[in-house]
């Protein structure tokens, strides 16, 4: 590769090889996006964490490249969102072509007043490098490279993990093990846990090329283009003038042959023209599956990211859902470790994130069925949809080149307190219990965006500053600390935000007196038209399994 040199993270001989080490609260297997995000989140909460990875560098090849708005907001909380956004390529617009005609254009973020775009494209190696750098800044986070997990012995109260290094094996005891070791998870195999799902009989070629071009920064998807007949092609721009081109090849393609430059170049020439100047950075041929583990929590071993669930790449629902797994898991694990919540709270991770995985698998499977029709009838309908889409708006809604990642709404979560005030908005995008908190431009002490003021604690969002000062102090002093954030007139207790454009009140369907209880992962868990201290305490207890 011309544009990136993989860093080498050095292995150091661990002390445990010479004497048995202390028990660790959390051990994470895998230093990919998910494991690193979990380490940073735990570290920021003051939980010492050890990460082991069987390699000594970041991703080889660009792999996951599309990071969605919600993942970027989570990264903001983890202290590396800005780096990813600065280096990456933001985009909101996608175009779909059928043969040589544009049939459909979509804008994923049509309204202004959001800090982050719908998507940022960035090669996974950059993404991981920023996370490694951030993790290294946090005291209590230790990363161990060239350290391969070869044994996992789960017990009632702890897990013994055996790690192999060039100097020999050692065993570490931890309270909790997070398995973030990817789709071929060694931990999953060692536990002997099967996972089920659907394997798709199709092959795709990824070619990353380095090219200076004035193509717009948009996602372009072609069905049956003249340069690649009967198959689909996807184009994404990445950082450093690197472009990702995804060619559907069909099931009968030979993966070894198709990886060769002499096979790839004619495909690229046909697409980009004879005069285009480019170099191949990286190429890979892949197949994919949609499947998940039945349970993500196995006692004290908790699975996250690709280790727990995988989807097809159409929709960018892999890494983005893994980051959301972390967001969901870490605050719960932190409360359990601090003795502020029973370990049953971790079952809600399983409940909420298996639901999210099902949603991702459903969307991904539907997109795959559209892109890779499995019968003549399916293909006929697909082509009919595309033919109609050019002139008839209704058909554009049926075109499915990937339903792009949006955060799961945790509708039926046992941590939610159902609405008792009947007049709240509840349609799509409404801040119903379970919804991810919407961002909005504000003016406040922690910057210009609402989500930055929410941070990673329980927050009571107080529209109109109606929560009395003594209650602000009482909530802050409770076992499960809850900060009050006022939107509106200043108060002496808690911080105050000014809703400069009225968008916070609009997005939260708020009137003076409306209060929202927001979880540490910035999902709404309760809302009321008037502050009621008893109800707020009960909702916090419910959201922490302390009810």
């Amino acid at each position: 590769m011309k544009t990136y040199v993989n860093p080498v993270y050095s292995y150091t001989r661990p002390a445990e090889l010479d004497r048995s080490g202390a028990r660790r609260p959390v051990l994470i297997v895998g230093a990919g996006p998910v494991g690193l995000a979990a380490a940073i989140d735990l570290g920021q909460r003051g939980v010492p964490v050890l990460v082991v990875d069987d390699d000594h560098t970041v991703s080889v090849g660009s792999r996951a490249i599309c990071y969605a708005k919600r993942a970027l907001e989570i990264l903001d909380r983890l202290g590396c969102g800005q780096q990813v956004v600065d280096k990456g390529i933001g985009w909101n617009v996608g175009k779909v072509f059928f043969r040589d005609e544009l049939v459909y254009r979509f804008d994923l973020l049509p309204e202004p007043g959001h800090r982050r775009p719908a998507f940022v494209n960035l090669q996974q190696y950059w993404f991981e490098q920023y996370l490694v750098e951030r993790a290294q800044q946090i005291p209590g986070v230790e990363l161990r490279w060239d350290s391969r997990v070869v044994g996992v012995a789960p017990r009632e109260d702890n897990v013994d993990v055996t790690v192999a290094t060039v100097d020999g094996d050692y065993t570490i005891c931890c309270d909790w093990l997070i398995a973030a070791d990817g789709s071929r998870s060694a931990v999953r195999k060692m536990l002997g846990v099967e996972w089920e799902g659907q394997v798709f009989r199709d092959r795709f070629l990824i070619a990353d090329i380095h090219m200076t071009s004035d193509f717009p920064t948009e996602r372009w998807f072609w069905f049956d283009p003249p340069f690649h007949p009967n198959q689909s092609t996807l184009l994404h721009r990445q950082a450093d003038d690197v472009w990702r081109i995804d060619f559907q090849l069909g099931w009968n393609a030979d993966p070894e042959e198709e990886k060769k430059p002499e096979r790839i170049m004619p495909r690229l020439r046909a697409m980009l023209g004879e005069s285009a100047k480019f170099d191949i950075e990286w190429a890979s041929v892949y197949t994919f599956a949609c499947r998940r583990m039945q349970r993500f929590r196995h006692g004290r071993v908790i699975f996250a990211g690709d280790a727990a669930h995988v989807v097809s790449p159409f929709g960018a629902r892999g890494a983005n859902s893994g980051i959301q797994d972390v967001d969901n898991l870490v605050w719960k694990l932190d409360l359990v470790l601090k003795g502020l919540a029973p370990d049953a709270l971790l079952d809600s991770y399983d409940f909420e994130r298996t639901h999210a995985a099902d949603e991702n698998i459903l969307n991904s499977t539907r997109a795959t069925d559209f892109i890779t029709p499995k019968s003549n009838a399916s293909r006929t309908f697909r082509d009919a949809v595309l033919a109609l889409a050019k002139h008839h708006p209704f058909a554009r809604k049926l075109v499915n080149s990937g339903r792009l990642s949006v955060p799961a709404v945790l509708f039926d979560s046992p941590l939610n307190t159902p609405d008792r005030d009947p007049d709240f908005a509840s349609g799509p995008g409404a801040m119903v219990p379970g919804a991810p908190a919407a961002d909005a431009p504000i003016e406040g002490p922690d910057g210009d965006w609402l989500l930055d003021s929410l941070g990673g604690d329980f927050v009571l969002l107080d529209f109109g500053t109606t929560v009395p000062m003594r209650e602000v102090a009482a909530l802050a002093a409770g076992a499960n600390r809850c900060r009050v954030v006022h939107v509106g007139p200043a108060s002496q207790g808690g911080i105050t935000l000014e809703d400069v454009r009225g968008l916070a009140a609009a997005r939260y369907d708020a009137r003076p007196g409306t209060v929202y209880l927001v979880r540490p992962d910035q999902h709404i868990c309760a809302r009321w038209r008037a502050f009621d201290p008893k109800a707020v305490r009960a909702a916090i207890a419910r959201a922490t399994c302390n009810a």
Partner: protein, 73 residues
């Protein structure tokens, strides 16, 4: 729940039928399949009601490929 109307609803059934067949005139089997697919999509969008559409799909599937049980899918 809205119910699929399978009682006579076409004012001039013979006219409709003639028009339907005429629409396919001169087409290959493959082209006819495309036309039918477009027609289904247009009409489905016009109807809109998911219950009615589900009932229509179930009725259409009845008696086709009986060995598979004829289940609506």
């Amino acid at each position: 729940m809205a119910t699929l109307n399978t009682e006579p609803n076409l004012a001039a059934p013979d006219d409709f039928y003639e028009q339907l067949i005429a629409t396919h005139r001169g087409l290959s089997d493959e082209e006819s399949a495309v036309l039918n697919a477009k027609l289904v999509l247009l009409l489905a969008n016009h109807i809109g009601d998911p219950d009615v559409l589900a009932q229509a799909m179930a009725v259409a599937r009845q008696g086709v490929a009986d060995e598979k049980g004829g289940a609506a899918v």
